[in-house]
């Protein structure tokens, strides 16, 4: 099973994402922002970082990268896509997911090990978790405060599209403590926390709770 890992100029967590895919038994395929080529991958991972320096709005430039012209229609047709941190911001800017991520309420970048509740275990990326399960993943961002209008929030909540919620303290002031969401079809997931930093005992966060993302997608692809 081949999972594409996208590198934009300024992407930082691409090596981590590729390693997490490999550790779960998948093949990580590097995808370059400037190419119109998805290389036939079965799923796409948009990792964190500061693409284009985040000098405009986070993700606002990456959205127009040549590669995104391929990712967007493929995702709309059901290709599984995961965006973490900057990747989540890019998914929102590309309108693959609703809402936006704004400056943290505390106005500081925050790096910490965060408790998170899995609310929806039916998406392409969360099948190996159970609804209501609490996990620990690192968050590390300055602009992770999820906002959306009331109508969108209501829709997300009523349709079960809030996939993750912060528990034990909201690190950024996100509305409804939202840490991650999905689209209607459940193939596109965006979240601020970093599952790719929680897959090994030796390094990263003091948990391996991120492994489920990668085993979930590989399982989903095998069954597809």
């Amino acid at each position: 099973m081949r999972v594409g890992v996208v590198t934009f100029p300024g992407t930082l967590d691409d090596q981590d994402a590729a390693r997490a895919v490999r550790l779960a038994g998948g093949e990580a395929v590097p995808l370059w922002h400037a190419e119109h080529d998805l290389k036939g991958v079965d799923a796409v991972f948009l990792p964190g970082g500061f693409s284009y320096g985040d000098y405009l709005r986070c993700g606002a430039i990456s959205r127009f990268a040549p590669l995104m012209a391929e990712v967007i229609p493929a995702a709309q047709k059901g290709l599984p896509v995961l965006g973490t941190c900057n990747g989540f911001q890019i998914l929102c800017e590309a309108h693959l997911l609703p809402g936006a991520l704004t400056r943290n309420a505390g106005l500081h970048y925050v790096c910490r090990d965060q408790r998170i509740k899995v609310e929806n275990a039916t998406t392409a990326w969360t099948g190996d978790y159970t609804a209501g399960q609490e996990i620990v993943l690192p968050v590390k961002h300055g602009e992770g405060r999820y906002v959306a209008d009331a109508k969108t929030l209501n829709a997300l909540e009523s349709e079960g599209r809030v996939v993750f919620r912060y528990v034990g303290g909201n690190p950024n002031g996100s509305l409804n403590d939202i840490a991650g969401i999905t689209n209607e079809a459940g193939n596109i997931v965006g979240l601020m926390p970093h599952p790719e930093h929680a897959v090994e005992d030796l390094t990263g966060a003091p948990s391996v709770d991120g492994r489920g993302f990668f085993t979930s997608i590989l399982q989903r692809l095998v069954n597809a």
């Binding site: 300024g10 930082l12 967590d13 690190p171 930093h197 030796l202």
Partner: protein, 752 residues
């Protein structure tokens, strides 16, 4: 507008030049005239003035720093020593680490955010220029008192600058220090460290060999950053329009630096770089003179070709500009297309400025006229050398007089006073703003005593090695104020110990020497003593100095900072999976104190907090004991005997016990080995560590200690939810945590 050129300089030998405004002494200017056999042009004066500045030439410190070489211990590990952009150390299995610490003190006071950010950027480029992939940063910070108003301006800006630049660059921040003392209120210290990894056989050096090879400037465009002085040349001398005052603090672009890192690594991999140098202080002046001096000896440069952000810049300003995120490479002509293609892939502008020659002259042109024609070595290597006078400060003897301080009766209250103090409280408010996870190689980071990284996943080809590297920085200005010789040794000893408690073997040293004005003989004495102490200690501990940085003039008016030598130690652990975790890691473990405790309160945190007192003598720097302790720690770690560890330093055993409880929220019940509970708990004797071991491992540890003659005391057991010290106090871990964590947020606001 006319630009001064060599012909004009010959024809107008008596034209007055603004050397004094550029910080040059009359004798220094005369020497430039002797070297050139004429007056310098404005551009030449720009080059000499920056290259001969204290910052670039080490003219006041050189005669002392020599001891790091003459007293260096024999070490097979040292691959590249002092004098290059950074030292390189053999870490085994064909791999090498390069690391260095550097100051960005003055800019960080003027503009905390950009000053600190560009401090990180500069040291990262030093590491890149050795041919390495930068893999982590650390920072050693000192601010005025926590209750002083300006600290609330400087600290948040500095932290935000490091956070913004380092995080955006994608380098984990794995540790460092934050210290408060009123002596730093007008002179905060921002010392940034970077470490990189490279193959042992792929070290790059700053050299420009091979006549005909091309000189390429790549990275950001050149702007008016950091050229304060050069505007004198551009306006005052050459009449016409007066230039506006330019900004003096550089502005960083971490996004460009990230592109530069990836671009450089690809250039190295393609083997299209003959020599390379980063552009830091003194920018193009420094890069061209140093590359040329260490290469075939000559170089031609057409300054009109330098890509500019500000098209009104004049050649003198281009030469002095400290615009960030720039590198200069020497490239074989046939490799230029491949070089340019890689730069283009990463959107990094690159321009051929000239070529290497064997004429022994650095020749620069502007609009077709020769504006610089100098022997490059005279600017790069043959700067002035001063033997500055020094003598012991007038009040030193009085300062060292022992004063009996009233001791507390409530030892629990004393622990809480220390634990919640500005210097010993949780650094979480600062470190939570740094990404410690990026690239997923971080094995240990704050609040561990040392940061640790695995190397198997850093570069292709490293997969087979099990090795890891550990890094710690330490310094104690109060100790150094009381005795700069011992203070420097204690800084080294603590960093060395911090590396050893993680299980790694200390290997090499970098240092950042922060002092007041070298023109003050009393400050110069502090400097001379500190360097002598550090060099002696490095010899005793068997760890060579690989490089570092001197920062003088940390002084406002007559008030200098405490002498503050900051020492970084790099260590290696053979199997990174053997690393020892910080603090108490499980219940039911034996708590063991290693090392002896004497009554040592000079310069202690307790004396300062309880009595506002700084006097007497600092703890003894007992280096043989330090070395034996490190042997015990690393051997025990390698045998899997240690379940957790923590070094003893500021605040003594009491603070070490409390922090060990806080690491995982596990309490302990202990009794003290000595007669005097206050001394046992709060003395700051060096060469001590606290470890916890499974009960069945205690005897093996004790035997190991006996062999190394390291005193070993079983204090008690881990477990429960309080820290109970027999006959002294019993404090819930929750209380310790609350007191420990509230201090910085109370001043700087909530983290989130």
């Amino acid at each position: 507008m006319r630009v001064d050129n060599v012909d004009r300089a010959k024809n107008t030998p008596d034209e007055p030049m603004p050397y004094a405004e550029l910080g040059m002494k009359e004798e220094e200017y005369q020497r430039v005239k002797e070297i050139l056999g004429r007056r310098p042009t404005g551009s030449e004066l720009a080059i000499y003035s920056v290259m001969w500045s204290e910052h670039c030439s080490y003219k006041s410190s050189k005669v002392h720093l020599k001891q790091f070489a003459t007293k260096a211990p024999k070490s097979d590990a040292l691959l590249v020593g002092m004098g290059e952009n950074a030292g390189v150390v053999d870490i085994g299995d064909g791999w090498a680490a390069t690391f260095k610490i550097e100051s960005h003190n003055h800019p960080s006071y003027v503009e905390p955010h950009q000053g600190a950010a560009t401090g990180v950027g500069g040291i990262v480029r030093d590491i890149m220029s050795m041919g390495a992939r930068p893999i982590a940063v650390m920072d050693s910070l000192r601010f005025g008192g926590l209750d002083q108003k300006d600290t609330r301006r400087v600290l948040p800006g500095v932290v935000e600058g490091i956070s913004h630049y380092g995080n955006c660059l994608g380098l984990p921040n794995i540790g460092g220090e934050v210290v408060f003392d009123p002596c730093y209120i007008g002179n905060p210290l921002v010392n940034a460290l970077c470490v990189g990894l490279l193959r042992k056989d792929q070290i790059k050096l700053a050299t420009a060999p091979g006549p005909g090879n091309k000189v390429v400037l790549f990275g950001a465009r050149t702007g008016a950053d950091g050229i304060g002085g050069a505007s004198v040349l551009a306006s005052a001398t050459f009449e016409e329009e007066s230039q506006a005052k330019r900004p003096a603090v550089q502005v960083g672009d971490p996004f460009m630096e990230k592109l530069l890192i990836e671009c450089c690594l690809e250039l190295y991999q393609a083997d299209v770089v003959v020599g390379i140098q980063d552009l830091g202080a003194a920018g193009v002046s420094c890069a061209t003179t140093e590359l040329a001096a260490k290469g075939t000896g000559g170089m031609t440069v057409d300054l009109n070709l330098v890509p500019l952000r500000d098209p009104t810049l004049r050649p003198e300003e281009i030469l002095m500009s400290e615009s960030q995120e720039r590198m200069m490479a020497v490239v074989r002509p046939g490799d230029i297309p491949a070089f340019m293609a890689i730069c283009e892939k990463w959107d990094v502008p690159a321009t051929v400025l000239g070529e290497v020659t064997d004429t022994g002259r650095l020749v620069m042109t502007w609009d077709g006229e020769v504006i610089v024609d100098i022997p490059p070595g005279t600017a790069a290597d043959e700067g002035p050398v001063y033997h500055r006078p020094f003598h012991e400060p007038a009040g030193q003897a009085a300062l060292n007089t022992h004063v009996e301080l009233e001791r507390p009766t409530d030892l629990g209250a004393t622990l809480l006073l220390l634990l919640g103090s500005a210097n010993l409280s949780s650094r979480e408010w600062v470190t939570s703003q740094y990404d410690r996870y990026v690239r997923s190689n971080t094995v240990l980071a704050q609040p561990a005593d040392a940061g640790m990284l695995r190397i198997s996943e850093v570069l292709p080809g490293a997969e087979e090695t099990t090795r890891g590297i550990a890094l710690a920085t330490d310094g104690n200005g109060r100790y150094a104020k009381l005795d700069p010789y011992a203070g420097a040794q204690l800084a080294l000893a603590e960093a060395y110990r911090n590396v050893a408690v993680t299980g790694a073997t200390p290997l090499a040293v970098t240092n950042c020497l922060n002092f007041g004005s070298p023109e003050d003989p009393e400050v110069m004495w502090q400097f001379a003593e500190a360097v002598r102490g550090l060099a002696d200690a490095c010899r005793t501990l068997g760890v060579p100095v690989t490089g570092g940085n001197v920062s003088f003039y940390n002084q406002t008016g007559a008030a200098a900072i405490h002498p503050t030598p900051v020492v970084g130690v790099l260590g290696v652990i053979e199997n990174v999976a053997d690393r020892v975790r910080p603090g108490f890691t499980a219940e039911g473990l034996r708590v063991v104190l290693l090392g002896d405790t004497a009554e040592e309160f000079g310069g202690s945190e307790w004396a300062y907090l309880a009595h506002g007192h700084l006097g007497g003598l600092p703890p003894r720097a007992h280096l043989e004991a330090e070395r034996a302790l490190a042997t015990v720690l690393t051997t025990a770690a390698g045998r899997g005997l240690l379940a957790g560890s923590h070094d003893l330093s500021d605040g003594g055993l009491a603070v070490a016990l409390a922090e060990s409880c806080l690491a995982n929220g596990i309490g302990a019940t202990v009794s003290l080995p000595g007669e005097d509970a206050f001394v046992d708990l709060f003395s700051e004797s060096a060469a001590r560590a606290l470890v916890c071991v499974r009960p069945e491992h205690f005897d093996a540890l004790a035997a190991l200690c006996a062999r190394q003659e390291v005193p070993c005391y079983g204090l008690g057991r881990t477990g429960g939810d309080s820290l109970a010290v027999a006959g002294a106090f019993d404090i819930p871990v929750a209380t310790l945590r609350e007191v420990h964590e509230r201090t910085l947020p109370a001043v700087f606001g909530s983290e989130v």
